[in-house]
Amino acid sequence: MRLENKTAVVTGAGQGIGKGIALALAREGANVVISDINLNEATKVVREIEELGRKSLAVKTDVTSKKEVDDLIKKTMEKFGSLDIMVSNAGVSSMEYVIDMPEEKWDFNMDVNLKGTFLVTQAAAQQMIKQQNGKIICTASMAGKGGVATQAHYNASKHGVIAYVKSLAQELAPCGITVNSICPGSIKTSMQDREVQWSAEIRGAGATSEDIREEMANFTPLGRIGLPEDIAKVVVFFASDESAFMTGQAINVTGGQVNTI
């Protein structure tokens, strides 16, 4: 096991990619704090982690609230005494053309995806600087490297995460803290289920969710839609010593896809 006795915090860990990451970290020996805006879902994941023989804790966190984010780190320190791995993963998406986009949709995507990343990693960095070590991993997106119609706000937020991570990596390198981001492609999650449905509606002409999914798989050189476990494996790598000489990177985990559809 690569992460024995390490303490990890994963935001947005109640479901989807975050849940996959939390379970993978636990399988490698880490105790994992499950942070999510939905405490009910977080609690279910805590039980799964405990079944693996690790310690866990559910914390309700709205990552756009500095108070709640600071509270997350405080509770982690109280229960586990250190913070070795911070996975800033909480994220949202929606689909709108810019011309019709209400300001609230812009704010929602930017606040959760980008500002949330700032607040979570800043709070984690403040603790990790005291320890003079730590691993910070942010979930960005393939959308952080290209453009796709109807997701300008989401793409803006994910581009922002990638640039932010590069800057933070430079600042924290002297403290022995690495900061990297992962860029998932098409991954089977509830976020994707919603997006697939929106895509079918926007496309019209009788397009079904299944048509969109098939198209996504066809656009992926490895020929399938990814699973949260595919992402989690790369996060474990960034959380472990194997990535000791990597920082400031934005790694695609997209099945070979290089841009958005």
Partner: protein
């Protein structure tokens, strides 16, 4: 002249880059509406060039941006080009950066791009023609230390512009970004003012490569703007151009404050 009978609105004209762009556009025959956070700044530049008017606009206000577009359309009948040069910068470690400072920087640099694009598109879609150019930063790609909110906001703008280029491809509207390789003194001054920080010393700017003579850059970027706006650039959209390749990591990460 490459841009006769064309009209442009330029947001943010306090820096040398924006001023070079406005002067070059005017020289090529383009009629201009020039805006700045400080009206006197916009008026001053407008008085120095042909066929230009100045307006004070806070790019954090959608209302003021819409009003500026309306003035431009009323005066010239259409908007062919929009250039957003509005940028502010704050040089500070991320662990020390306050939530309020983060919000001010990201809103001024990235949300402004969303407001401006949205407001400009209405007229451009009606005309089935238009070009939007965002002046962002090379930090969007390099990510230097002590500029995390700035880098994040600039790459956010690029993400927005890339997506937008896909949305309006069939409306004959092109959307591109330019990435200057240094941070201007004026960005630091306005950034400090809006975030209630100490102003930088006179002439201070932020440079990423000692290998480049930044004195040449405003003019070079202005040439790129004209190229992208003119017929020569009509097959280019969704791109983010900088003027040189990434520097050696050592220099890139230095992000040093320097004196002009």
């Amino acid at each position: 002249m490459k841009l006769s009978d064309k009209t442009a609105i330029v947001f943010g004209c306090n820096g040398l880059i924006a001023q070079a762009i406005c002067k070059k556009l005017s020289k090529e025959g383009c009629k201009l509406v020039i805006t700045d956070f400080k009206k006197e700044q916009a008026d001053k530049l407008a008085s120095e060039i042909k066929n230009a008017i100045g307006i004070g606009v806070n790019v954090c206000s959608e209302k003021e941006i819409k009003e500026a577009m309306d003035i431009a359309i009323k005066k010239y009948g259409k908007i062919d080009f929009v250039v957003n040069c509005s940028r502010i910068a704050l040089f500070k470690e991320t662990v020390e950066l306050t939530e309020n400072e983060w919000d001010i920087i990201v809103d001024f640099n990235a949300k402004s791009m969303y407001y401006i694009a949205k407001a400009a598109l209405k007229n451009m879609i009606d005309n089935n023609h238009g070009t939007i150019i965002g002046i962002t930063s090379k930090t969007a790609n390099s990510g230097p230390a002590n500029l995390s909110a700035y880098a994040a906001s600039m790459n956010a703008s690029i993400g927005l512009l890339r997506s937008l280029s896909c949305e309006v491809r069939n409306n004959n509207i092109r959307v591109n970004a330019l990435c200057p390789g240094y941070i201007e003194h004026e960005e630091l001054v306005l950034g400090a003012e809006l975030t209630n920080n100490e102003p930088p010393d006179e002439g201070i700017y932020i440079q990423f490569s000692p290998l480049i003579n930044i004195a040449n850059e405003p003019e070079a970027l202005a040439n790129m703007v004209v190229f992208l706006a003119s017929k020569e650039g009509e097959f280019i959209t969704g791109q983010a151009y900088s003027l040189w390749d990434d520097d050696l990591t050592y220099y890139r990460n230095l992000g040093q404050m320097a004196e002009l």
